[in-house]
C-alpha cells in the first residue's frame, strides 16, 4: 500500500495559532510604543493606565513644534536614499563581476567582506571620529552617507551576488555574442532579470540605513542628524519621558513600517532569495 503523508487538521490549526502568537509577540512592542505615544508622561508610567487612558496629541505636537522633527526626518530620507543608491551603484558591478567572472579568490573576498561585519563598531569609534573631524567632514551629510553606504555594502554585495548566481551564465554569454559590452550586459540583461532581487536588496539596505543609530548618533551633532539622533536626544538625564520618547520613536519607525508593509511581498522574496528561472 502506498504511504501517503497525512496532514492532521489539528496540526494545521496549531501551527496557525503558533504563527499568530509569534506575530503578536513581535508586534506588541510596536503597539505599546504607539499606545504610549498618546499618553502624557505622567500617565505613561502608571500601570493602571496601560490600556485605558485619555489620549493626547501633545507629544506629537511638541515633537514637531519644539524638536524640529521634519529636519531630522529629511536628513534620514536624504542619507538613507543616497547611501542605498551608492550602495547599489558599487554593489551591482561588484556582484556582477564575482558572479560571472569569478577568480580563485572570489570566495575569500566574499568572506572577507562579511568578516568586516563582525568587527565591533566601537573598535573603530576613535579613529573614525578623529578622521572625520580632521577631514572637516564631521556632521555632514556626505560623511553619514559614506558611512551608511560602507557598513551596508557587504550585505548588499552578498545579496546581489546570490541573486546574480541564479541567472544562467549562458544568458550573459549570449549577450556577449550578441554584441553588448559590459555596461550593456548589466543594463540590458542583468538588471531587468534580477530586478526583483535588486529591489529587495535596495529596500533592505534602506531599512538598515534608516535604523542605523551607532554612527549617526556619534558622527553628527545638528546639521546631518537623523531620526536616531532625535530619539537619542530625548533621553533626559533626570529620567525618561516615556510619552515624549514614544512619540518620537513612533514617528521615527512609522515611515519604515509603512514602507515595509507595502513592500512585504518583495521583502519576503528578498530574504528567501527568490530565484530567476
Amino acid at each position: 500500500m502506498a504511504i501517503v503523508a497525512q496532514t492532521s487538521k489539528y496540526g494545521k490549526t496549531g501551527r496557525t495559532i503558533l504563527a499568530w502568537a509569534v506575530g503578536l509577540l513581535f508586534f506588541f512592542p510596536i503597539f505599546w510604543l504607539v499606545l504610549t505615544s498618546f499618553k502624557t508622561d505622567a500617565d505613561a508610567v502608571k500601570p493602571e493606565f496601560l490600556f485605558f487612558f485619555t489620549p493626547t496629541l501633545d507629544n506629537y505636537l511638541n515633537m514637531t513644534e519644539n524638536y524640529d522633527y521634519w529636519r531630522f526626518a529629511k536628513n534620514s530620507v536624504i542619507t538613507s536614499v543616497f547611501a542605498t543608491v551608492f550602495g547599489l551603484a558599487i554593489g551591482i558591478p561588484c556582484a556582477y563581476s564575482m558572479a560571472f567572472n569569478p577568480s580563485r579568490s572570489t570566495k575569500d573576498v566574499l568572506m572577507w567582506m562579511l568578516s568586516t561585519k563582525m568587527l565591533p563598531a566601537a573598535a573603530v569609534l576613535y579613529p573614525m571620529t578623529f578622521l572625520t573631524k580632521s577631514l572637516g567632514l564631521f556632521d555632514t551629510h556626505f560623511m553619514v552617507i559614506l558611512v551608511l553606504c560602507l557598513i551596508n555594502l557587504p550585505i548588499v554585495i552578498w545579496m546581489l551576488f546570490t541573486y546574480f548566481k541564479e541567472i544562467p551564465k549562458e544568458i550573459i554569454e549570449a549577450g556577449q555574442m550578441d554584441g553588448v559590452n559590459t555596461w550593456g550586459e548589466i543594463k540590458e540583461i542583468l538588471i531587468p532579470l534580477a530586478w526583483g532581487g535588486i529591489a529587495s536588496t535596495a529596500l533592505l539596505c534602506f531599512i538598515f540605513c534608516w535604523n542605523e543609530a551607532y554612527w549617526t548618533v556619534r558622527l553628527t551633532t545638528i546639521d546631518a542628524s537623523t531620526l536616531s539622533k532625535l530619539i537619542e536626544g530625548n533621553r533626559a538625564p533626570e529620567g525618561l519621558f516615556f510619552g515624549r520618547l514614544s512619540a518620537v520613536s513612533a514617528a521615527a519607525v512609522g515611515p519604515i513600517i509603512v514602507l515595509g508593509w507595502f513592500c512585504q511581498k518583495q521583502l519576503v522574496q528578498g530574504l528567501t532569495f527568490g530565484a530567476v528561472k
Partner: protein
C-alpha cells in the same frame, strides 16, 4: 566569408591543460562537427573560437585576422547554446531583434530581418510571446533566429539539440542541415552524438582529452578510422574490436569489424557464438552475441526479419575486405 584557423591553441584551467597545442582549419562554408565523449574539450574549443574563453597560448584567426585578443562581440560570430540562453524578460521579437539593436541597425531593417527569420523558422505566430510560453523546440528556433539575423561569418552551435526529445531532435537536425545548404555559411557544431556528426557534417573533428584524433569527412572516418578510438566512436552500433589470436592471424594486435559487415547464419560460418539479446528495430536487428574470443559481446547488424532469440547458437562470417587492423599503439595498419 568565414574561414577559421586555430594555430597552436592551448587552454589551461589552473594547472590542468585541457587543450594541448592544437592546429585546425575550418574552410569557409564548411559544416564542421566537433565530436567526442563528455569532457573531451569540444565545448571548450568552441568557446575559444567564440572568445568566451581566453586562450592560454596560440592564435585564433577568422578570415586571416587574428582575433585572439578580440572580445566575443567583435568576432562577427553567432552562437546557439544548449540551454537556448534566450532573454526571458523579452518577447520573441525583442530576442531576435536584440543583436541588431545592439549593432545600431535601423528599425525598418530590423523588422525586415525579424519577419524573414520568423517565416523561415515558423515563428511568425509566436513573435509576441515570451520564451517561457514556448516549447523547447520553439525556443531553440528563436535562438537560431537570433543567430541568423546578425548575418555572421560563422555559426557556432554548442550541443543545441541535447535538451530536445528524440523526435524533435531529428526534425531540428534536418532544419539546421537545410539551413546550411541554403546559406552556405560556415558552421561549427559541437555534439557528443556521433549520429548527428555523421548526418550533418562535411568535416568531422574527433576529439579525445583535448587532442584531435582525426579530421575528415564522415565517410572517410567511417571507412578509414585512424585509430581504435575513432573506429569505436564513429558508427552505430559501435565497431567490434577483437583482441585475440584472430587479430594475430591478420598481423595486428586488434582487428575491427563493423556490425553491418558480419554475416550471421544458423548453420555455417567462421566464428561460433550464442545469442545474448536480439534487438528488433523493424528495419534491422542488432544481435549481441557471446562466446567470441576477444570481443564479448560482439554485435551484428542483420536484416529486420531474422528470428534469432536468446540462447540460439549462431555462426558468423566477417567480410574480410572490411576488416580494420590496428597495431599495439592502437594506430591503423593499412
Amino acid at each position: 566569408m568565414g574561414r577559421i584557423v586555430l594555430e597552436k591553441v592551448t587552454k589551461n584551467f589552473g594547472d590542468t591543460q585541457v587543450i594541448p597545442p592544437l592546429d585546425l582549419t575550418i574552410e569557409d562554408g564548411e559544416f564542421a562537427v566537433f565530436v567526442g565523449p563528455s569532457g573531451c574539450g569540444k565545448s571548450t574549443l568552441l568557446r575559444l573560437i567564440a572568445g568566451l574563453e581566453e586562450t592560454t597560448s596560440g592564435k585564433v584567426l577568422i578570415d586571416d585576422q587574428d582575433v585572439t585578443e578580440i572580445s566575443p562581440s567583435k568576432r562577427g560570430l553567432s552562437m546557439v547554446f544548449q540551454t537556448y540562453a534566450l532573454y526571458p524578460h523579452m518577447t520573441v521579437r525583442k530576442n531576435i531583434a536584440f543583436p541588431m539593436r545592439m549593432a545600431g541597425m535601423s528599425e525598418e531593417e530590423q523588422n525586415k530581418r525579424i519577419n524573414a527569420a520568423a517565416e523561415s523558422l515558423n515563428l511568425t505566430d509566436y513573435l509576441d510571446r515570451k520564451p517561457g510560453q514556448l516549447s523547447g523546440g520553439q525556443r531553440q528556433r528563436v535562438a537560431i533566429g537570433r543567430a541568423i539575423v546578425r548575418d555572421p561569418s560563422a555559426f557556432l552551435f554548442d550541443e543545441p539539440l541535447s535538451n530536445l526529445d528524440a523526435a524533435l531532435r531529428v526534425g531540428m537536425r534536418l532544419e539546421i542541415t537545410e539551413m546550411h545548404e541554403r546559406m552556405q555559411t560556415t558552421m561549427i557544431y559541437v555534439t557528443h552524438d556521433q549520429v548527428e556528426a555523421m548526418t550533418m557534417a562535411n568535416k568531422i573533428v574527433v576529439l579525445q582529452a583535448g587532442v584531435i584524433e582525426q579530421v575528415g569527412s564522415p565517410l572517410e572516418l567511417y571507412h578509414k578510422p585512424r585509430n581504435k578510438f575513432v573506429a569505436g566512436f564513429i558508427g552505430s552500433p559501435k565497431m567490434n574490436l577483437i583482441e585475440s589470436d584472430e587479430a594475430k592471424k591478420h598481423g595486428a594486435t586488434t582487428i575491427g569489424i563493423r556490425p553491418e559487415h558480419i554475416a550471421v547464419s544458423d548453420s555455417d560460418g567462421i566464428w561460433k557464438g550464442t545469442v545474448g539479446v536480439a534487438e528488433h528495430l523493424g528495419s534491422d536487428t542488432f544481435i549481441h552475441i557471446h562466446g567470441i574470443d576477444g570481443c564479448d559481446p560482439l554485435t551484428v547488424r542483420a536484416a529486420g526479419d531474422v528470428s534469432f532469440k536468446h540462447g540460439d547458437t549462431v555462426y558468423l562470417t566477417p567480410d574480410e575486405t572490411q576488416i580494420h587492423k590496428f597495431d599495439d599503439m592502437g594506430l591503423r595498419i593499412d
